[in-house]
Point group: C2
Chain length 513, copies 2
């Protein structure tokens, strides 16, 4: 049943839970709701290999197909049937208009107005105007003309078209000022969903870090209530980062394109079937065949089964990411995933350089403790949030005691604190603190605020020179509070590095136990 | 069909492929062959929940059951049936003798000779004598008495028992001298398979690094031809490290124990079902149920389905590890896996501190390029092997040119080399080299030896102070070769750090392009 005009009564896009910039949300369309983040499989309007019914069974409730190819294949007869009947899918359908074909094969011979009308008449749930992708490597001026062209077309399609979700295509690629200009213009026109264009060329040349910076730039101007689609990003390698950066849906024909090339999708890459010995997957294809047996099938059967596995593999990756958001471990998940390829590893910089961007949508309290491994983790949003609290901490006490974390949390429950408390019982007004390499100084009064007592950490030696976040908090803590005496643990090399940086006005003493 | 006395004609344990200390191998038993590394599910001789037939269908060809509980339950009647009929399994069966029960419930009231005879008569394929586990935390003297006890029992069982594979139990735990003593004694007695005892307490208290060091110590004295079993290590978290360190089989009841506690096994941990929202698994259980639906099943049905999923999850993990060995990426796999938990992260030290141990069984040439991410990777066996070659490199040339790697490999195909070659065409006898932060100095003559032209690397700034392997090779290179002049690229900060360390006898010049 099609719910017409539901937009009047229900929010189109509703966020349920978020972590970093990733969010689990509900996207409502004329053909049902889609839970995002969602992979949107590309369906061929004529030569679709995996039946759409099977695709829906696997759990994909939104698919994308190409209006341009539909028009070339069926002409205006397509309108009589409607896109859902053509591709035999009763879930939500998105139509692309041929922008990618423009990029790949040069200008296509279609009037933009005709194409927009055709897409409207196909009754797709989500529709994309015929944009002009900037790809990668255009000069600023040429890219600008492409952006202006896309904006002109986009502005027109919105008129008299509120029964579908029209998607505003963001172009500009590496020209970040054009990204900003695209986003601001599209929002002004009234688009309720946006899509970032042209990432395929960046991904094919492993420019993941640049793509990440483009997404951050776009998202900086997009309100939380607007979903963002990422074109052509259907690789398990990039899905977790795309979600963590704030993309809600992403389409790709990867499942079938790789299958046609004999490539098998794993968590981290695609593999040539002939290189493989074991399937570490429990899907219905992999449970019944070895790589050798799969290779020996008839060509069509092989492509079909491989494509089916690829869909299952992508579905799993999306579910792992969703569960990571649900569990509050998306940071851990993407930092682990970064080790899938050295070029993906470069994206970590985008996470550590934009902690304010990620803090804004990361919960301040989580059910589970956070895991702290190495230097990147000092930029984790929960960690930075705690530093911000401590950087405002003020006390009038004159003596400060800073001891290492002994693992018993919070500090006021630990035996070393009790020992010191007794030892100093005759001295009044002591500011007790412990420290942790990542979380910085932890004053006892706020030693139970998340995550100062909610973390697991590796017992390894960390280099104080590689912990600038600690250093900044240390500096602020001693600027904001006028201590006359500082006690630290005797022989504590890590903390000595920082005490040596203090001005000489403070008396430094060490504690022996 | 049971192949009797096959041991005479075929090798019991045959290694097919290895990477780090992990190996894919064939273990031949009276009930068929087992490909290792293999997870060995624990089967209860009476109250087994998942039918052994199903377990075999999933792909487990070796199971373990408890001879002590079998004797308590069925008495000497068990001998008439034989263990295979009792547990209804026609694959290979291993029997444990109750050592773990000794550890958990104190001494059990069994004569060791009786127990050994009973195990022999049960006709299990692989049998473990009744050992006395040292657990964790015993004084050296007490641990030694346990080891002596275990050795005494073990020595006896081998007599007249060559139709089965008897496994020699290594005890000693954190007392590394006792580990060595155990291994040497058991090998002297003639055991063809060994098992490392008592890791459960170490794993339960997250002492993974200590466990890793114990495995390395044991393996140091075990020939490659002897398979090593690890007791009670059936967690996806520890399986990759156990394999990389050299364990071939590992048993556990984890699949059912976790299921009884409502816990679901994922790649990296176990989760409480009630905390979960999404199943990112494509097994027959997860494909048909949501976490919420699974929770609401009847208790027995729930445990059954959860245990089944847990078995599939463990199978997948083992297959991922096997495929990583096959692909030559076990190093990458375990370093990524280390990010599953901070305590697992501590095990990286064991990999970087024992590179000779791992080099011995890591192929010198691989089909695929290696991925280089960060400082640990300087200790990767393939990298260390290349450094060893360069540290022996000798030339009589007097001028050396060392330029950064421009990504075109090997060096002699790159444009910057061609440019320099022309530039210096009038100067004779120039030693051209490039450098790479991880692989060190790469002289042009050996710039195509694996992996000097077979790597992908992140484009990030590495700190020269954290690259001692580079520094050592640099030092040796300039000691072994008496250069009068060194050219480096103008403005290359990384290499300047090292040129500044050179003696003043050499003339330092920079190249401008």
């Amino acid at each position: 049943m099609i719910l017409k005009n539901f937009l009047i009564t229900q929010v189109m896009f509703e966020i349920i839970k978020s972590d970093l910039r990733g969010r689990i949300a509900i996207l409502r369309t004329n053909h049902g709701i889609i839970e995002t983040p969602a992979y949107v499989p590309v369906i061929h309007p004529k030569n679709q290999i995996i039946p759409t019914k099977k695709i829906q069974e696997i759990g994909f409730n939104l698919v994308i197909t190409n209006a341009y190819i539909t028009k070339k294949t069926y002409g205006y007869d397509a309108i009589k049937k409607g896109i859902h009947k053509i591709i035999k899918f009763n879930g939500a359908v998105m139509t692309d208009s041929g922008g990618y074909q423009v990029l790949k094969y040069g200008d296509i011979n279609e009037s933009h107005d005709d194409m927009a009308k055709f897409e409207t008449d196909l009754k797709a749930d989500i529709t994309i105007p015929l944009d002009k992708p900037t790809g990668y490597g255009l000069t600023s001026n040429v890219a600008k003309s492409f952006v202006e062209h896309t904006l002109k077309i986009s502005k027109k399609v919105l008129k008299n078209n509120d029964s579908q979700i029209w998607v505003g295509p963001i172009q500009g690629s590496e020209h970040l000022d054009l990204i900003k200009y695209s986003v601001k213009s599209l929002l002004k026109y009234g688009f309720k969903m946006l899509a970032l264009g042209s990432p395929v060329e960046l991904m094919e040349s492993y420019k993941y870090k640049l793509l990440a910076n483009i997404i951050v730039e776009a998202k900086n101007y997009i309100p939380h209530s607007i979903p963002l689609h990422l074109f052509g990003a259907g690789h398990p390698l990039t899905i977790p980062f795309a979600v963590a950066l704030g993309c809600d849906t992403f389409d790709s024909a990867s499942y079938i394109l790789y299958a046609k090339n004999g490539r098998y999708i794993t968590e981290d890459r695609t593999r040539d079937l002939s290189d493989m010995q074991y399937f570490a997957c429990n899907c219905c294809v992999c449970n019944n065949l070895t790589p050798k047996e799969l290779i020996e099938l008839d060509k069509n059967d092989k492509i079909n089964k491989l494509a089916l596995h690829n869909l299952f593999a992508i579905k799993s990756e999306v579910d792992r990411v969703k569960e990571a958001i649900h569990e509050g471990r998306l940071w851990e998940y993407v930092l682990k995933k970064a080790r899938a390829h050295p070029k993906l590893f470069e994206m970590i910089d985008v996470l550590t350089n934009n902690y304010n961007y990620f803090s804004a949508t990361t919960p301040l309290f989580k059910k589970k403790s956070i895991f702290l491994f190495t230097y990147e983790d000092q930029y984790r949003p929960e960690v930075i949030s705690y530093h911000k609290i401590v950087r405002k901490f003020k006390t009038k006490k004159k003596i400060v005691v800073i001891i290492p974390d002994n693992g018993i949390k919070p500090m006021y429950l630990s035996s070393d604190y009790n020992y010191l408390n007794k030892k100093f019982s005759k001295t009044k007004s002591i500011q007790f603190c412990r420290y942790n390499q990542f979380l910085g100084i932890i004053p006892i009064e706020i030693s139970d605020i998340y995550p100062s007592s909610h973390y697991d950490m590796a017992n390894i030696e960390y280099n104080p020179q590689s912990l600038p976040v600690f250093e900044e908090t240390w500096k602020k803590f001693f600027e904001n509070n006028k201590f006359s005496t500082l006690y630290t643990k005797h022989g504590d090399k890590f903390i000595t590095y920082f005490t040596n940086k203090l001005s000489t006005e403070i008396t430094k003493k060490t504690l022996r136990k």
